[in-house]
């Protein structure tokens, strides 16, 4: 019994080491979305391209889609834009845009110049829908299933690696479950 107590500090150190080691490489700025498993919050906002046309959550019914939160004021959104173009054009992914706290004219110029990867763009100048989605920065990308339920949230830039390693597996899983 006494022998065992001699080894206690070693045991404590090893356990502590394992716990701390598991935390290495984890990005503490990435938070789980409270919305995973919940339907997209109800909203009624204008279409970015067609002022006056109202969009609502029925936009997310029928197929698995990405919801990408972006703004022209967001430098990282510029970084991921070319990869979103690639996703939409080459991979045939349907991406709904949420133009977040932006100016309509700036947003339209941006899409005109850089190309438009979005099937639809929700115009959210006040960030109301963004707030209800728990968006705390841009870019953020959500995987929404065919019933309009949020299945995954990715904080930060989407690129080919994120697509291959993270988003595509989630989408495949969501599609399998129907």
């Amino acid at each position: 019994m006494k022998r065992f107590f001699l080894f206690l500090p070693l045991v404590v150190a090893v356990v502590l080491g394992m716990v701390l080691f598991a935390g290495i490489g984890k990005d503490p700025t990435k938070l789980d979305s409270a919305l995973v498993g919940q339907p997209v919050p109800a909203f009624s906002l204008e279409d970015l391209d067609n002022p006056g046309q109202q969009l609502d959550a029925s936009l997310f019914q029928g197929q698995v889609q990405l919801l990408n939160v972006w703004g022209t004021w967001c430098p990282a959104c510029r970084d991921e834009h070319d990869d979103l173009m690639w996703l939409a054009r080459e991979q045939g992914v349907s991406i709904v845009g949420l133009n977040y706290k932006d100016n309509r004219d700036d947003a339209l110029v941006w899409l005109d110049r850089l190309g438009d990867p979005y099937s639809t763009n929700i115009y959210d100048p006040q960030g109301r829908l963004g707030f209800d989605l728990g968006v705390y920065g841009a870019p953020e990308t959500f995987v929404i299933d065919a019933q309009g339920v949020v299945r995954y949230r990715h904080v930060g830039v989407v690129n080919k690696k994120v697509w291959q390693d993270t988003l595509l597996p989630v989408i495949n899983q969501v599609r399998e479950q129907g």
Binding site: L31, A34, L35, K101, F131, D132, G134, V135, Y136
Partner: protein, 160 residues
């Protein structure tokens, strides 16, 4: 020198940055304002992570303060306001996590640590007391001879 001046400026201006929050919103009574202040101090900014939304200048903190104010005006209770924000941003925004299965260890850790410490102290005290009550048995002749031999060997070793 320039650095010192800029630090000084920062220190002098920081009360202004905090005062900004209070002036944006209007309250009917001092209690209401106090309630608002207490609420926003309790909530953590999801973007900056080590600031509460009262101190943070991040856009999301501004939005969260506005939401707290809006809901307060609409007559929501503190719990309702906090729950509404947690539903959007997750439990991360609570400095004090709710007591539930997942967080029970976190809440129990101080008690466990105190209990562990008390056990160690009790153990040490009991052992010391036992040692005091039973005096160490004296060596018999054979043991004394062996001890002397060992000590002699030890001396020789250190002299060599």
């Amino acid at each position: 020198m320039v650095r010192m001046l800029s630090v000084l400026l920062l220190v002098l201006l920081s009360p202004l940055a905090q005062a900004e929050v209070a002036n944006v919103y209007e309250f009917d009574t001092a209690e209401q304002e106090q309630r608002f202040q207490d609420l926003i101090v309790e909530l953590r900014c999801p973007k900056c992570q080590n600031q509460n939304i009262a101190d943070s200048n991040a856009p999301i903190s501004k939005d969260m303060r506005a939401e707290v104010y809006r809901r307060m005006r609409a007559g929501a209770s503190n719990d309702e306001i906090v729950d509404a924000l947690v539903a959007r941003f997750g439990e991360f925004i609570l400095y004090k996590p709710q007591v539930e299965k997942r967080t029970i260890l976190l809440w129990a850790t101080p008690a466990i640590a105190v209990l562990g410490g008390l056990l160690v102290v009790a153990g040490v005290v009991l052992r010391a007391r036992r040692r005091q009550t039973e005096p160490e048995p004296a060596l018999n002749a054979k043991e004394q001879a062996r001890a002397a031999k060992i000590l002699a060997e030890d001396d020789r070793d250190s002299n060599a």
